[in-house]
Amino acid sequence: MNAVTRYSTPAVVLHWLVALLIFAAFPLGVYMHELPLSPDKLKLYSYHKWIGITVLVLAALRLGWRMTHTPPALPAGMAAWQRHASAIVHGLLYLLMIAIPLSGWLMSSAKGFQTVWFGVLPLPDLVGKDRDLGEWLAGVHKALNFTLLALVILHVGAALQHHFIERQPFLQRMGWGRKGRT
């Protein structure tokens, strides 16, 4: 039987691209907001927003791809609770990949700063300038991000656990190898 054990190439490329961008945007966000006002701070804020909107676009693409393509089956020996946990965590990761950039975009608008993607493409302000709403959205953005951090730790931990502790070939699912090769 020729079982598929790897996600399709577009899914793999999108996964790692989004992972890379999140690993850049997260520490940037933590670092930049404590800085005193300076041109560098303004630049970092813009870079952070540009990365975030890029994640939003790629996450939407991923979601579309995921809904139209069947992922490789999980290893046969995996416990039912692990399958359920996997489905829930993946679902939440998708949700956060959309919700976090969206909350940042809305926060930016509420704080009175339009998001202009790469300094070129202005995104519409979906909410007007509103100080309280801006503060609230900042809290939401932060809470969602630390939830994401926890889920990413779980996600990476589970993948490594399956591969190295349960000794099931697992990491190749998101690897660069050819389809079906283990």
Partner: protein, 184 residues
């Protein structure tokens, strides 16, 4: 009797008899806003407190004069962080220069209720000549004067040192105003 009629005719014939001279500025209906770009993002701001001393008679625009004094402490620079920053030495240096002052020296009619106002803008101890187009809109009880111009902040040393990089904060600042005044 004849003299009286002549006087009456003379008064009626003088355009000034019907013209209104706008001298009393209505602060609540007057605004000064500005807009600049920061990392390509348009940022809006304004000044809440300013005083205007003016006289404008549409029949004699060349005799018009205006002086606007803006309290820089009343700034809205887009965020409270930017409001605080704007007071510093690199920006307005508000401790030493608390006001921006515009004095109109010459007003020229362009026709169709449009005028060209030439004057001097003084900011942070530096003065620059400005040419400002103004549209006059007569109303029932008051008239409004709308105008706008683009200034280069670096001409006035606004945003020096690390802020002089115009790729982050653009040099051009678009200023728009509406001054409402009544003739009483």
């Amino acid at each position: 009797m004849k003299a009286m009629i002549l006087t009456l005719l003379a008064v009626l014939a003088t355009p000034a008899a019907h013209a209104v001279e706008y001298r009393t500025v209505l602060p609540k209906q007057s605004t000064i806003h500005f807009e600049f770009r920061q990392m390509g993002v348009p940022v809006k701001g304004g000044f809440k407190r300013f005083s205007t001393d003016m006289a404008f008679d549409p029949a004699r625009p060349e005799a018009a004069h205006a002086k606007i004094e803006i309290d820089l402490a009343s700034i809205d620079a887009g965020s409270s962080e930017a409001d605080d920053e704007s007071a510093g030495k690199l920006w307005f240096d508000r401790g030493a220069y608390p006001k921006a002052i515009f004095v109109a020296r010459q007003v020229r009619a362009l026709g169709n209720n449009r005028y060209e106002m030439r004057g001097t803008l003084t900011l942070k101890g530096r003065s620059r000549e400005m040419v400002v187009p103004v549209t006059y809109t007569p109303g029932k009880n008051a008239a409004s004067f709308d105008g706008g111009f683009v200034l280069k902040r670096l001409d006035f040393g606004i945003g020096e040192g690390m802020w002089a990089d115009v790729a982050t904060v653009a040099n051009e600042v678009r200023v728009t105003f509406r001054i409402a005044a009544s003739g009483n």
